[in-house]
């Protein structure tokens, strides 16, 4: 871009800024004692336009600089085609080394000196999102089916446990498989009508599905308690040994079992390990199923549906199993959520949750397990850290997402490990 074009571009940006700033900054309401008065602050509008003008000039200069460097490195890469993408390499290493490292860290976390109640609690929340991310990754990352209503399965799992516990006295471990089963059933229910849809159309229907589930929960007062939700959900016990200072008659409390002092953090830590275990099961399951025919079929379906049919893969079954199994893990996570919170209401299952989970999968790099952990950590901790600047939280959140997508549109750690490796000499 030459100088004139740059100035033109910046002037255009400044004009847009001025138009936006006029109603937003240009007028202020003032208290005149009686009716509200309006004062004008057109100088602010001018400052805003000026700031945008200068900012745009600098920004575009930086973008050009960056592009040039990209071109240079592309030229270098053309000379040396053997050199693979650096970040993809990191992604490859990450899946091999980072993930075990993260798991190791997660296991020892509650015993580290800085791990107080808040830290473990926060880590639990992160792990819920990691698990949801891994679950959704089956549907979006592996099978390539864009699902914007994943939170519905999370809700189904949570309400399944709450209702089973309330009406039939089911414990957590008894309800867990059922919650997964119900969620899987809902996955199939969603899967049937959307079998022929792909891409944007599929996204719209799944979005609607998520909302339908939430609205049913909100309005079916008799069963779900409506907006008031369900409270008093049984807290988990350590395989029948409750976490309580004075256990009910005939039961041994957890601290008595181990012969240690009672502390309220025991339950927090137990919950933490519970979700860690569930998340690890999800991860192991995903890694394993990718090497099985059904997992291969999911990935093939993501790549090319017509080719799949031509090779003898049943697309209907493949899609339905992806929806069902992805939903099942959402259901497990929901079941855990209900027992941890002790209270659930439709408030917890709004569209923004689906959006965050999808953002985790996309930002992490579709299909990369370690990437999803990174993204989940980032997206759950960022709002916590930015809580101090509460006003700008969503702004910072959005900014971070935009930056990541500009810098790495394929996600933080995009890398796909082949599911078959032949022995070097082709002996196989």
């Amino acid at each position: 871009m030459n100088a004139v074009a740059r100035v033109k571009d910046a002037a255009l940006a400044a004009l847009v800024a001025a138009v936006l700033a006029l109603p937003l900054l240009g007028f202020a309401t003032i208290d005149t004692g009686g009716p509200l008065g309006i004062s004008t602050r057109f100088d602010y509008v001018a400052y805003a336009a000026l700031a945008v003008f200068v900012g745009r000039l600098v920004f575009m200069a930086l973008v050009d600089l960056w592009r040039e460097r990209q071109m240079d490195s592309a030229r270098e890469a053309a000379h040396d085609p053997g050199k693979p993408d650096r970040m993809a390499q990191i992604g490859k290493l990450a899946d091999r080394w980072l993930l075990p490292l993260m798991i190791g860290f997660a296991i020892v976390l509650p015993f580290l000196p800085f791990a107080d109640r808040t830290v473990v609690d926060l880590a639990t929340v992160v792990l819920i999102y990691v698990m949801l991310g891994w679950g959704l990754n089956i549907v979006v990352g592996l099978a390539g089916l864009l699902d914007l209503g994943y939170v519905a399965f999370y809700a189904v799992g949570a309400y399944s446990y709450a209702l089973l516990q309330m009406h039939f006295g089911f414990g957590f471990w008894e309800a867990l498989p059922l919650a997964g089963l119900f969620a899987a059933f809902f996955g199939v229910l969603l899967g049937f009508p959307v079998l022929r849809l792909r891409g944007d159309y599929l996204a719209i229907v799944t979005l609607g599905f998520g909302e339908i589930v939430r609205i049913i929960l909100l309005n079916w007062q008799k069963v779900t308690g409506g907006p008031a939700g369900i409270s008093g959900i049984q807290r988990p016990s350590f395989f029948g040994f409750p976490f309580s200072a004075d256990p009910p008659a005939g039961k041994t409390a957890f601290h008595d079992l181990l012969g240690i002092e009672y502390s309220s953090i025991h339950r927090i830590i137990f919950l933490y390990y519970l979700i860690l275990l569930l998340a690890l099961i999800t991860s192991l399951f995903t890694a394993r199923i990718r090497r099985l025919p059904v997992g291969r079929a999911w990935e093939a379906l993501r790549e090319d549906e017509i080719a799949c049919k031509a090779l003898g893969i049943n697309p209907t079954n493949t899609k339905l199993t992806a929806f069902a199994i992805g939903a099942m893990f959402g259901g497990f996570a929901g079941c855990f959520f209900a027992t941890r919170q002790g209270f659930i209401s439709p408030e917890s299952f709004t569209f923004i949750e689906s959006a965050v989970i999808l953002a985790i999968v996309v930002l992490g790099g579709m299909g990369s397990q370690a990437g999803i952990v990174l993204a989940a950590t980032l997206l759950t901790l960022l709002p916590e850290i930015a809580r101090e600047f509460a006003l700008f939280r969503m702004l910072a959140f959005g900014m971070a997402m935009v930056l990541i997508m500009v810098w790495r549109p394929q996600g933080l750690l995009a890398h796909r490990e082949p599911t078959i490796k032949l022995k070097p000499k082709g002996a196989s």
Partner: protein
């Protein structure tokens, strides 16, 4: 082995195939040639069940296969290498081949893999490379190899020469001949490259505007004046 009788296919109101009769005998290579839009690919896709023919019968091994979903046809021994290759770009060559074998008995996988690597040594060299990074010719080899992994008795090939260099086209056609001679796979070949296709084929059909205009042995059709002027002039070695 494959008999097509009076097949008519519509795309909405468009009458794409206006009553096609075609026969492919066991062990034959049959070429179907014709201009753009004549309905060649439509015929192959109709055989595979998508779109369904509105009228007519398609017999495979004597059974009417109209209405049987595509993925089940593969299990009966009818493999289709679709137009445009359609390999899985982010998967390695071996993974692509593994997916080709979903309809086959997994016990055969290793030996089948060796067999197709024998036919396509290039694929063996590139076995861990991602499909999307292969050259056009290699991708076409992969598409054919992948279709062979299901152990088909009939192989439907849709324009295997599309967008390939002349030398590569020769290679591919030599391999098709080998598959047919050595493994006894029956081949129905759709081609715009009429010269190569007819030289290779035992018999050929010429499709014009959704109807079979002419049929005969490959040699006869190659010698035919009309065909020469319509499809072959300037086409030698293409």
């Amino acid at each position: 082995m494959l008999v097509i009788e009076g097949v008519q296919t519509f795309y909405g109101a468009v009458h794409a195939l206006k009553g096609v009769d075609l026969k492919v005998g066991t062990g034959e290579i049959v070429a179907l040639i014709g201009a753009n839009g004549a309905g060649k690919s439509t015929l192959l896709m109709t055989i595979c069940g998508n779109p369904k023919p509105r009228y007519g019968r398609i017999l495979f091994d004597g059974d009417d296969i109209v209405g049987i979903p595509t993925h089940l046809l593969v299990r009966r021994g009818l493999a289709h290498a679709p137009e445009g290759r359609r390999i899985f770009p982010r998967m390695s060559v071996v993974e692509n081949l593994r997916l080709g074998a979903v309809a086959a008995d997994p016990a055969h996988f290793s030996s089948d893999l060796e067999r197709v690597f024998g036919l396509f040594p290039r694929l063996k060299e590139r076995r861990d490379q991602r499909g999307g990074t292969l050259s056009g010719g290699e991708q076409q080899m992969l598409a054919i190899a992948r279709a062979l992994m299901s152990r088909p008795r009939v192989l439907l090939l849709d324009e295997p020469s599309l967008g390939l260099a002349p030398l590569v086209v020769k290679q591919i056609f030599a391999i098709i001949e080998e598959i047919n001679k050595r493994d006894g796979v029956t081949v129905l070949l759709v081609e715009q490259n009429a010269f190569h296709a007819l030289r290779l084929a035992h018999r050929g059909y010429v499709l014009v505007n959704g109807q079979i205009a002419m049929t005969g042995t490959g040699q006869d059709l190659l010698a035919n004046e009309q065909i020469r002027s319509a499809y072959l002039e300037g086409g030698h070695g293409r």
